[in-house]
């Protein structure tokens, strides 16, 4: 790991810890949480999930079948299986295995 990579990990660790410690530092007993902070807390997780899905699939390209079909089929399997069975580990494993197989089959 080079210096930039080490710093990247360090930044992620520090920001994560800062987020977890912030409430205890910023909101002493009895002080009310600002409404905007509470709102973002409720709204951000959904938005971030959407952002991360697009981020993960940002490399898709539609010039060839192999550029999008394995992803599309595996993603459909993840979403449909999760809606039906509601077991996150099972859906993640099924989607990943499906993708790994398709990568080797769809050329």
């Amino acid at each position: 790991m080079n210096a930039h990579e080490l710093l990247t990990v360090l930044v992620a660790a520090l920001v994560t810890a800062a987020i977890r410690f912030a409430p205890f530092a910023l909101f002493p007993p009895g002080r009310k949480t600002p409404a905007a902070v509470e709102y973002l807390g409720r709204a951000l997780p959904g938005a971030v999930a959407g952002l991360l899905v697009v981020y993960c699939l940002r490399g898709l390209h539609f010039g060839a079948l192999s550029g999008w079909l394995p992803e599309a089929l595996s993603a459909a399997l993840v979403v449909i299986s999760y809606r039906l069975i509601r077991n996150s580990l099972l859906s993640i494993a099924a989607g990943t295995v499906c993708y790994m197989l398709l990568l080797r089959l769809v050329v």
Partner: protein, 228 residues
């Protein structure tokens, strides 16, 4: 022995987390090694970063040579929800005398969901029980990451495509949010802004503009009946 009852209760209560953390940690370790990093980095990141989704994102940020500011903002976005776990545990944790710093550091989604439901039995020492659950959960995660890293290095298996586990993880999160949320606009805004940013700025620069658009739109719809 003092605290053994709390530890036993914590061990029983954390069994479901153990299953999830061992499996996802294993996947993380395999993925990190498949991307060309040494196996030992997996448990080290599990010890010091200790944030499931963010560790997966971090692999991509590392591989793409992301800047430090981009990394900091992405970490804030992905982990911002943890602010609210802390807020809801404020009073509980203030009463804990020993190990409070560690309890705060290690408050992940799963640990929070166990601890926020309160003490499972009467007469337990809350501080010891909280510490037991928190430390066991992180232990499973570190162990999963370590085993995954070692397996990735040792097994002569072609792991090509394993990176889809990260896509699948976030697809499950999104589907779950979509099914549970009373207000689906935040999820739609996240998807829409990221897509717009991808089309406008390309795959290499999509994060920062997307985050800015998301914040602006979320604040815009606030007060217009927004309830996540």
């Amino acid at each position: 022995m003092k605290g053994s009852r709390e530890l036993r209760t914590a061990a029983v209560k954390t069994v479901p987390v153990a299953a999830g953390y061992l499996v996802m940690g294993f996947g993380f370790g395999v993925l990190l090694v498949a991307r060309g990093y040494p196996a030992l980095y997996a448990p080290l990141m599990a010890l010091f970063v200790y944030a499931g989704s963010m560790q997966f994102v971090l692999i991509d940020l590392l591989a793409g040579g992301a800047g430090l500011i981009e990394t900091a903002l992405m970490t804030f976005f992905v982990n911002a929800r943890h602010l609210f776990y802390g807020l809801s545990m404020l009073d509980e944790y203030r009463r804990v005398k020993r190990g409070r710093g560690y309890l705060i550091f290690s408050l992940t989604d799963e640990t929070y969901s166990l601890l926020s439901s309160g003490l499972p039995e009467e007469g337990l020492d809350a501080g010891r029980y909280y510490l037991g659950v928190s430390a066991l959960d992180q232990g499973y995660w570190v162990l999963g990451c370590l085993l995954g890293g070692l397996a990735g290095e040792a097994l002569p298996f072609d792991f090509r495509g394993i990176e889809f586990s990260m896509t699948a993880l976030f697809l499950v999160t999104l589907t779950d949010q979509w099914m549970k949320a009373r207000d689906r606009r935040p999820a739609a805004i996240g998807l829409g802004c990221a897509l717009a940013s991808l089309l406008l700025f390309g795959p290499g620069q999509l994060i920062l503009p997307a985050m800015a658009m998301i914040l602006i739109l979320l604040l815009f719809i606030r007060g217009k009946g927004a309830e996540a």
